[in-house]
Each structure stands twice: as structure tokens, then as C-alpha cells.
């Protein structure tokens, strides 16, 4: 009888709390958005299911090693890759092996849009400081505005490991919600005529240019911001594998099998890290609010900078200012959003190629910003 009572005490029904149920509902909403609305399903399905896995109630710390925060549990081992920032560089390797930088190489001035959009990171850093967060926590929250999940996880694993859960969830949620968040901001800041601007078709880029770019890109960016080396090193390495033409097998593995495996592990463990007992705090909610603000500022920053650039560009070379919004990384969703918005106002205006340039530049920019913040805030001595 005592054994039966012990079993009943151990079931989820006996240990469930309201926060657990809230998190389970959130997990189901994530899965619904991924399947029904197709908002970043590759991310939201693992994260949503991870939230369910992480919020099954049980008695913690009785030696069964079940929970993600219990030393020695399977989930804890898998979470190690998040905590130590191992997964993000591997994701970047895959992204590099998938990315075609031709659009950027054919019109290099679009790279500045990727830089402009990083304003969201730094303005949110200031706001988070004013709200009483520590420097390290504020920087980790600010990086959500980079709209780059792996970069956000990487920086928070170094600066504020305690906040990885809410920061990762916020970053990935806003990446998934790009089609909802960005269009109103873009429409607010641009006129219909501006949205109809057609850009010059990109020039063809030689193979040599594509091979030289990852090498020089790595040298230039990481000499300035060595903190970004794990991310940018892998990004450019992956790209060289793709563009060299002699390592097709490696590029294929990096861009398919490897990135898929890491995405599954990353998504599931980040989701599971939202265990209600440690996740549902007022601090987490504040991080979500600040993340949204950061993302919006970044979008607006890119669009406004594109309009400023137009003041100095000749007729015929003008930019469609919407592509500035793609300067927040979120590859390739923000570029796709811009493309679809462009098609709404002019069904023959194809902006995808043009928007991919600031989009991939945003990936580099947010990684550089993360490296700079690490350089400022990691106290080595």
C-alpha cells in the first residue's frame, strides 16, 4: 500500500502546478503555429515539443536524474551543448554551407543595411541596463534584436548562462514571428511609391570572388572582433566548403545532416529548459518584452537607413527601402517577408535576391556585435 502511495505521489498528476499547465499550453501553441501556420516549423516543432518534455511534472532531485537541470540526466547531457555554446557554431557551419553570398558580392553597399539593423541590439542593451539588469544580462537580452537564435544562445552562454532559456525562447519565437512583426513596421515607415521601387538586377559573380570572400571575410571581421571567431569562423568555413567546389561531400553533410541533427538537439533542449519551476518569472516576461522591442527597433533601423542611403544614390540605383528590414538576420524569413510585401504592391517586383544581401550581412553583423559585447564585458583579468 505504501508503494502504491509512493507511486501516486510521483505521478505528474500529484505534482502538477498552474505554471506547469501554462507552459504546456505555450508548448502546444508553438506546435500549432508551426504546423497550422507554418511559422518556422523546423524550429518551433522541436522547441514546442521540448517545452512539453520539460514541463512534465515530477519530484525533482531524488536521484532519478530526469530533469534537464539535474546533473547526469540524459537531457542535462544534451543541454550541455547549449550551456557551453557548442551548438551555435555548428549551426553556423551549416548556414555557411547553405548560403549563397552572390547577392551581397554583387552589391556590397547593401552590407551597410545589415550593420544599421544592429542598432536594436545596442538600444535594447541600454534599456535593459536602465531596467536594472546587470551589464552581462543586458547584453544577452539586447542580442535578441540580432534576430539570430544561435548568436543569442552563444552570447548568453558566455555572459548570462542563467538566462539562456528565456533568451533562446524569445529569440526563436520572434524569428518565427517575423511575418507578423515586420510588415506593420515596414508599412508604417515606407510609402507605397517607395515600396514599388525596382532595383537593378544583381551582376553575375565569378567563382573566384565567391572563394575569396569567406577567406577575406573571416580575416577582416575576426581581426576586429575576435569574440565572434567561433561563429564567424564556422560560418565562413562552411561557405568555403560550398564555394570551393572540391569538398561537395563535406558541404552536403554540413548543410544537411549535421545542421539537422544540431537543430533537433538545440530545439528540443532549449524547449525543455523552460521548466516552469525555473522559467516562469517576472524576469523572463520582461526579457520577452525587451526582445520584442529590440526586434522592432532593429527592423525600423534597417528601413530608415535604407531611406537615408537613397538620399545619396542616383536615380536608377535607388534601393527599395523595405530591404533594410532584412538587415535583422532571421535568414531567410525576413528576406521572404520583404519579397512578399513587394509583390503585393507590384506583382512583378521580385525583391528576394536583393533582400538576401542585407539578410546575410545581418548574420555577420549580429555575430560581430556579439563578439564586441563579449570583448567589452568578459573580464579576463
Amino acid at each position: 500500500m505504501e508503494g502504491l502511495q509512493q507511486f501516486i505521489d510521483f505521478t505528474g498528476f500529484a505534482n502538477v502546478t498552474i505554471p506547469h499547465l501554462i507552459m504546456i499550453v505555450i508548448g502546444i501553441i508553438f506546435i500549432y503555429l508551426a504546423i497550422a501556420k507554418e511559422y518556422e516549423p523546423l524550429l518551433l516543432v522541436p522547441i514546442g515539443f521540448g517545452i512539453l518534455v520539460g514541463n512534465i511534472p515530477f519530484i525533482e532531485n531524488i536521484g532519478l536524474q530526469l530533469g534537464i537541470y539535474e546533473d547526469g540526466s540524459v537531457l542535462n547531457y544534451l543541454y550541455f551543448g547549449v550551456l557551453k555554446g557548442i551548438y551555435p557554431p555548428l549551426i553556423f557551419l551549416g548556414i555557411g554551407a547553405m548560403t549563397d553570398f552572390s547577392a551581397l558580392l554583387s552589391n556590397p553597399k547593401l552590407m551597410l543595411l545589415g550593420a544599421a539593423a544592429q542598432i536594436g541590439i545596442f538600444l535594447t542593451f541600454i534599456t535593459a541596463l536602465a531596467l536594472g539588469f546587470s551589464q552581462n544580462a543586458a547584453a544577452s537580452i539586447g542580442i535578441i534584436g540580432g534576430a539570430d537564435g544561435p548568436t543569442a544562445i552563444f552570447l548568453s552562454s558566455k555572459l548570462a548562462p542563467d538566462l539562456i532559456g528565456p533568451i533562446a525562447i524569445a529569440a526563436y519565437s520572434y524569428m518565427a514571428l517575423v511575418p507578423v512583426i515586420q510588415p506593420p513596421i515596414i508599412k508604417l515607415l515606407t510609402s507605397k511609391d517607395e515600396r514599388k521601387i525596382r532595383m537593378k538586377p544583381p551582376r553575375s559573380v565569378s567563382k573566384t570572388e565567391k572563394i575569396v570572400f569567406p577567406i577575406v571575410g573571416l580575416l577582416l571581421t575576426t581581426f576586429i572582433s575576435p569574440g565572434a571567431l567561433p561563429l564567424l569562423g564556422m560560418l565562413f568555413f562552411g561557405n568555403l566548403l560550398k564555394e570551393s567546389g572540391v569538398t561537395k561531400r563535406l558541404a552536403d553533410t554540413a548543410s544537411k545532416a549535421l545542421i539537422d541533427i544540431v537543430t533537433i538537439l538545440l530545439g528540443l533542449t532549449v524547449g525543455a529548459s523552460t521548466q516552469a519551476t525555473t522559467f516562469l518569472t517576472s524576469e523572463s516576461i520582461l526579457i520577452f518584452v525587451l526582445g520584442a522591442v529590440s526586434f522592432m527597433i532593429a527592423t525600423a533601423g534597417g528601413v530608415i537607413f535604407a531611406k537615408v542611403m537613397n538620399l545619396f544614390l542616383k536615380e536608377g540605383n535607388k534601393l527599395n527601402p523595405m530591404i533594410g528590414a532584412a538587415g535583422v538576420s532571421a535568414v531567410p524569413d525576413s528576406a521572404r517577408v520583404v519579397h512578399h510585401l513587394g509583390l503585393k504592391d507590384d506583382p512583378n517586383n521580385y525583391l528576394l535576391m536583393h533582400a538576401m544581401a542585407p539578410n546575410v550581412s545581418g548574420v555577420i553583423g549580429s555575430a560581430v556585435a556579439a563578439g564586441i559585447l563579449m570583448g567589452f564585458l568578459l573580464h579576463m583579468f
Binding site: 556590397p108 545596442f122 541596463l129 551589464q135 570572400f213 571581421t221 555577420i364 553583423g365 559585447l373
Partner: protein
């Protein structure tokens, strides 16, 4: 949630300094990279342009070595047609070869006999 809001925290945390310097560095690094990329094409074709200039070509021939999108599309189409072997004109040689087969298994005794390979 906003109880700790205090603008002095920004000054105490070097917020302004880190943000301005950080943002400028991000901008500068991408600007340097973009300047390099914009010059990359010229650097890579420097030797080729020099060669063309030395061999007495007109300035227009070596100043812009870009291949236009239209030419690329034409080359791509030609290669595609070549490899797909799609062509407008079919040759008129008939490729059906008539084969005479006077016997059939139904009517020939030969098919019913065991045949051994002959040693020549």
C-alpha cells in the same frame, strides 16, 4: 516589473559608451568588408585587364569585363539544350531496322532441338 527602472543604471553600466563604440565598430567592420568586396572584382581582373591593354584592345574591351545577365542566360540556355539534346530539326534517317525472322518457335523444328555450341 519596472520597479528597478533608473536612468543612472545606464551611466553606471557604461551603457552609452559600450553602445556607441560597439555600434561604430560593427558599422566600421562591415564598411571595410563592403569596400573590399566592391574592389575585389577589379583586383581579380587586374592581370587580365593589363594583358588586354598591352595587346592593343580598345579601352571599352578591358574596362568592364562583366558578362551581362543576357549573355549568361544565352550561354546557360545553349548548354542546357546541348546536354538535353533538344533540337528543332530532326534528321530524316530512319532508324527502324527491319529484321527478317522467317522462323518462330511455333513453327520451327529448330527451336525445339537441343543445340550445342560448335567447336570451330
Amino acid at each position: 516589473m519596472f520597479d528597478n527602472f533608473d536612468l543612472n543604471n545606464i551611466i553606471a553600466g557604461d551603457g552609452i559608451l559600450i553602445s556607441i563604440v560597439g555600434y561604430l565598430i560593427v558599422f566600421a567592420s562591415l564598411l571595410v568588408l563592403s569596400i573590399f568586396i566592391s574592389r575585389l572584382k577589379n583586383i581579380l581582373t587586374l592581370h587580365q585587364r593589363k594583358k588586354l591593354k598591352a595587346s592593343g584592345h580598345r579601352a571599352a574591351d578591358y574596362e568592364d569585363l562583366d558578362v551581362s545577365e543576357e549573355i549568361n542566360a544565352a550561354i546557360g540556355m545553349a548548354l542546357y539544350l546541348h546536354f538535353a539534346e533538344a533540337h528543332d530539326f530532326e534528321n530524316t534517317v530512319l532508324t527502324i531496322k527491319r529484321v527478317q525472322k522467317p522462323y518462330s518457335p511455333w513453327s520451327s523444328k529448330l527451336y525445339g532441338l537441343r543445340q550445342y555450341p560448335k567447336n570451330n
